[in-house]
């Protein structure tokens, strides 16, 4: 009698164990269940923080006496002129010497078909510390990608394949979109409706700069004036 029951229990136990083994192979894992390997079909989603993205788009030391904020659209010709004619020289003379802290804010205008895409690439590049390279490439080749829409090609041209792989993964992350939206909301709070919109802050006082009439000599004299205050 006992042996008969023992056999029966053994068979039930083995059957249950077999069923559990099969289910663990075929059923999807419970959310939160620890897995030894990430699933092959879903790539790892990087989650950069807003602060990380903003820091990546900023240049210089945070403690610099002058803060220059630039609300720009990568497809806007005037933003290109401002960047090539003024920003680059400001970087060379004042950002690199710790006198100016330069912050780029994205303000892609709906009238430009590829500006949001360009902003996303630039923000993704900012996370890996390659914003400046991508920004320069986007502005210098603006006419080309502005016409063809091949923004990715321009970005790939200044990054290594490994960097490009990381930037591609970041491009799709929702945090990038959130960072752009955050910049746009900030711009609207400062009544920005056109690009480029430049704000210079010194000793707590913020002054809007006329980007259309600005030139490097005027900017230089203004920065020097502020530094003497």
């Amino acid at each position: 009698m006992d042996r008969k029951y023992t056999k029966l229990w053994t068979m039930v136990t083995l059957t249950l164990a077999g069923l559990m083994g099969i289910s663990s192979l075929s059923l999807p894992a419970r959310p939160g269940a620890r897995q030894s390997k990430p699933p092959q079909t879903r790539p790892v989603q990087p989650k950069p923080s807003l602060a990380e993205i903003t820091a990546g788009k900023s240049l210089g030391t945070k403690t610099a006496p002058i803060l220059i904020e630039d609300f720009a659209d990568f497809q806007c010709p005037m933003c290109r002129s401002f960047f090539l004619g003024i920003t680059r020289q400001v970087i060379d003379e004042y950002v690199s010497t710790g006198k100016v802290y330069l912050v780029h804010h994205d303000f892609p205008l709906p009238m430009h078909a590829h500006s949001r895409e360009a902003a996303k690439w630039a923000n993704a590049a900012a996370v890996i510390g390659k914003f400046q390279e991508v920004e320069t490439a986007l502005y210098t080749k603006q006419e080309s990608w502005g016409a063809t829409g091949k923004v990715e090609e321009v970005v790939a041209g200044v990054l290594t394949p490994a960097e490009m792989k990381r930037v591609r993964a970041l491009y799709a992350s929702p945090e990038i979109e959130t960072a752009i939206q955050h910049d746009m909301d900030l711009g609207r709070s400062k009544s920005v409706n056109e690009t480029p919109s430049i704000f210079v802050t010194h000793k707590g006082q913020t002054v809007p700069i006329n980007a259309v009439g600005a030139s490097f000599p005027f900017m230089k004299q203004y920065i020097e004036y502020l530094l003497k205050q």
């Binding site: 005037m78 409706n193 056109e194 690009t195 480029p196 919109s197 002054v207 809007p208 700069i209 006329n210 980007a211 259309v212 009439g213 600005a214 030139s215 000599p217 005027f218 900017m219 004299q221 203004y222 004036y225 502020l226």
Partner: protein, 158 residues
Amino acid sequence: MDSSALPAESSARPRWPRHVLLAGRLILGAVFVYAAYAKLREPWMLFAMAVNSYHFLPEWGATLVARGLPWLELALGLFLLTGWKIRWTATAAAGLLGFFFALMLYTYIKNPDSGTIHCGCFGSGEILGPLTLARDGALLALALIIAGGSFVTRARRA
């Protein structure tokens, strides 16, 4: 005979045009003084950038205007407030405002979508648009009325 006729003639004329002219020149004078103050309280480079955005002068010209115009506006404003050589002061003010208005109108018509050109009228930050044009047009009309009125008053006195 002549001395008794003059007061009778002047009392027969209505006084309100004189009062209107006085109020007008005080308003215009105050506007000019404020415009000068708004520019002088800021570093001249900011106004120079506003002048430069009109693209009608080379950079050295914009620098000259940015450094000199606020003082001219201050002088005109004070002359208008005190009534010193009012005919010529009002004419100069009308000429200056006429030039500003024509330049602003031309720039606005040429770049109707550009909201990045700063008017520069009362310091930095004000965007050139229909409202700034309407305001400058109204000031020009006021300056013309004062200039015309002061010439007419002078002719009547003579």
